[in-house]
């Protein structure tokens, strides 16, 4: 009997253990902002906490926030669902163009939207201005998932509803709309969280929210208990929104039952209704894209070549790109262990760790920045206002973005492929390198890009955390608009939009792909 060399079996449990350890470290880091809020609340003492929270200023901010959410989200749903239905399920002329234009406002950062409006109508103030600009800036977050869901719907369900005696309107409200619930809930949550987190948009139109109030407090007194407690209330609002979304979403299944491919849906004939129908995407595009385009073009023409100064504009661009790439790489590397675990070794522990990775992305930048400032000042002063802290903030804020792309691409490389490669003579290491890493590479790159583009437009955390002398496109734009120098700010806005275009394109293509097209 021949005796080939036997090797001890690879201990798969141990191999997982090191990945679990890495993912746990990232999960612990992502708990830092929440832990900070808890710690500071305990540290401040109950009497002072109640004095800081239960006062009229907090009440005002709370009313503002609730009004903003309650007015903006339903309007966004109405606009997004109508547009999605028109572009996906009717014979409206130029459906593809309108669908592109409905996603395009994402390329314009929210504070650039409000810059455009304020420089056009200098008197814009208060709640209704806030609602208007918020709807225009954020409705694509609902449009994209709703349009994708409409595309995916099995038309057989509509046929069945019609055959059971429902008219077209009833078919829409009783058969189609309920199936859009997941998409509407997810999109609304995203918008709600953005409304809580946004700072620049509301400062420009002088509408006070928690984020603007916290930054105000922070700029007058670092590490003040007042700012920290406002941060606590803001985190509470975020968690409340997450909870509401879970409740409203429910846990019904909306998947297609049965096998076989769904046939493409028929498009409804608009006939005479086409004129009012086409007015909606035209007006929306004019408000969301036309206004920023026109005002920006005006400022750029007014400024001429003088405003393109290579030493300031160029250095801001360079710093932004370096920070964005470094943050993108770091966040993606940090997300990798968890993404791998959630695909290859799902379990209860993994789900808890994953929840930590996701929740931190729903926190406003101002809270993460506040936590990191206070912790560095109190515990590790040398790290205060360093790139390391700023990059850590970026990693935490954009961890979910990195996760999404990575997870999908690791799932593209099922373990069976690695096994097939081993059965064909590759060592385990070669199999991982030649198959899994090769297949996950585009997803890794996409994740880096998604995070990098998020960092490009990030304002609040960058303002609060960046080392002295650092100027990104967003912070430079912000300091110029604060001095009402709208002309000099224009090139920065222009470059942010140009850098955001690829992200918008990517999101649009992804939403098409999830619909199997």
């Amino acid at each position: 009997m021949r005796m080939p060399q036997l090797t001890a079996a690879p201990r798969s449990r141990v191999r997982h253990a090191s990945v679990v350890a890495l993912a746990s470290i990232v999960a612990l880091l992502s708990l830092v902002p929440l832990g900070f809020i808890v710690w500071i609340t305990v540290d401040t003492g109950w009497a002072e906490v109640t004095a800081l929270i239960f006062r009229s200023r907090v009440g005002e901010l709370l009313v503002n926030t609730v009004l903003l959410e309650v007015c903006t989200i339903p309007l966004c749903i109405l606009l997004a669902v109508t547009l999605a239905w028109l572009t996906e399920r009717t014979d409206i002329p130029g459906a593809r163009l309108w669908s592109w234009l409905a996603a395009a406002p994402l390329a314009v950062p929210a504070f650039v939207h409000s810059y455009a409006w304020v420089s056009l109508v200098p008197g814009m103030r208060g709640l209704w201005s806030g609602v208007l600009v918020s709807v225009l800036a954020y409705f694509p977050f609902l449009y994209l998932p709703v349009a994708a869901a409409l595309r995916r719907l099995d038309p057989a369900i509509e046929d069945a509803a019609a055959s059971l005696g429902l008219g077209p309107w009833h078919v829409f409200f009783r058969a189609i709309l309920p199936q859009l619930r997941l998409a509407i809930c997810g999109g609304s949550l995203l918008i709600g969280l953005h409304l809580l987190a946004e700072y620049g948009l509301y400062v420009m139109i002088r509408f006070d929210t928690f984020s603007t109030a916290i930054v105000d407090q922070f700029q007058s007194a670092y590490n003040s208990p007042a700012a920290n407690m406002l941060g606590g209330v803001l985190v509470f609002c975020c968690l409340l929104l997450l909870g509401i979304e879970v409740l409203v979403r429910g846990n019904e299944r909306y998947a297609r039952i049965g096998s076989g491919a769904a046939r493409p849906a028929d498009r409804r004939r608009l006939r005479w209704f086409v004129v009012p129908a086409i007015a909606l995407p035209v007006v929306t595009a004019a408000l969301t894209l036309g206004i920023p385009f026109v005002t920006l073009a005006r400022w750029l023409i007014l400024g001429g070549l003088d405003i393109w100064q290579i030493d300031t504009v160029g250095s801001a661009l360079l710093q932004t790109i370096l920070l964005a790439i470094a943050g993108g790489l770091l966040a993606t590397i940090a997300a990798a262990p968890m993404a791998w675990l959630s695909v290859r070794a799902p379990g209860r522990l993994q789900r808890v760790l994953e929840a930590c990775h996701y929740y931190v992305g729903s926190l406003p930048g101002v809270v993460v920045a506040l936590a990191l400032v206070s912790i560095t000042v109190r515990l590790i002063l040398p790290l205060y206002q360093t790139f390391a802290t700023l990059l850590l903030a970026y990693v935490l804020l954009f961890l979910p973005r990195a996760m999404v792309g990575l997870r999908a691409s690791i799932a593209q490389a099922p373990v069976e492929l690695e096994r097939a490669a081993m059965a064909l003579g590759r060592t385990p290491a070669q199999a991982v390198r030649q198959i899994t890493m090769r297949l996950a590479a585009p997803g890794f790159a996409a994740s880096v890009a998604l995070v990098a583009l998020g960092i490009t437009n990030e304002l609040t955390a960058t303002l609060m955390l960046s080392p002295n002398g650092t100027e990104t496109l967003a912070t430079k734009f912000w300091s110029l608009t604060s001095e009402i120098d709208y002309v000099s700010a224009a090139p920065y806005a222009f470059m942010m939009i140009v850098l955001s275009l690829p992200l918008t394109l990517l999101l649009y293509v992804q939403s098409k792909r999830t619909a199997g097209q």
Binding site: M1, P4, L6, A9, P414, E416, M422, L424, G425, L439
Partner: protein
Amino acid sequence: MTFLAIKNISKRYGPVHALDNIDLTVAAGGRTAIVGPSGSGKTTLLRIIAGFETPDAGQVELEGEILADGEAIVPAHRRGIGIVSQDGALFPHLSVSENIGFGMERGARDRDQRINALIDMVELDRGMLDRRPHQLSGGQQQRVALARALGRKPRLMLLDEPFSALDTGLRENMRKAVARVLQIAGITAVLVTHDQAEALSFADQVAVLRQGKLIQAGTPQALYLSPRDRETALFLGDAIVLPADLNDGSAKCVLGHIPVDAESRQGRTDIMLRPEQLRLQAIGEAGAGAACIGKVTEIEFGGAVCAVTVVLSNGSETLNIKSSGVGLPEVGSMVSVSVIGKAHVFDRLDA
């Protein structure tokens, strides 16, 4: 001669015995099917043979070479065992020809010729070589996966439910094609499946696995006609199980006196008949002397084979009989029932 030997293989996941002391041998050039319901441990066994899983105890030997001895194993990439899995597991980023050539030595001079020969062997058009896996149908993907595994000239080919994702018609076609290709290449194969018809028609040895235990192994005919117990009988096909009194190689039951395959057994026990062993005749033809008479209560027409339900006159027993579609009796008519061949007697429970 024994080619592959599986000796006392056990594997547990926590408290669950996935495999409990399995012993199985496979002859060189043979085709063995491991069949069992889902959760029976058949896939675990296949993965232990392939080297993706480590047994807790027991040995795997291929051509006298020890591949696994308890937790010490030869890693999968040094075993020279080919595998074709349920969905083919083609590499999506490689073309068909790159997939087929994946396992060949790098820079082999006759690489292109070998790829061409393999694609011819699995009966695919050479024009497909430049396509990507997603441009192929399910059956074509499986053929490519087979060609890719053959490219390594494996000593043993493992087939992990490779036909179950295919449509019914295509499945039969593929099964025949795979059997033919393996025969021509002279490669020993082990097929894992939950489909008993597939196992019986593909293999020359069938092993039935249930709850981690090897219940019975043998030729398809032996298993089908002489299953060890009632569960195996019903798993491998429809069966009629009747209580009977055995005496000197004959069973007395509601169908009269029937010869049985266990001549030495005596006393009361269950006997088994396959539905196609029963013949129906119009009562006039058989004459009044027929042993067993019943009334047709239901006919389910199925083309070549039809299911006839007969309630026996001498008892409350209801029989489901497979009958030819030609010359079917009428519903409500009286028929005589006769038995072809011997009835099977299950092993004693304590055996």
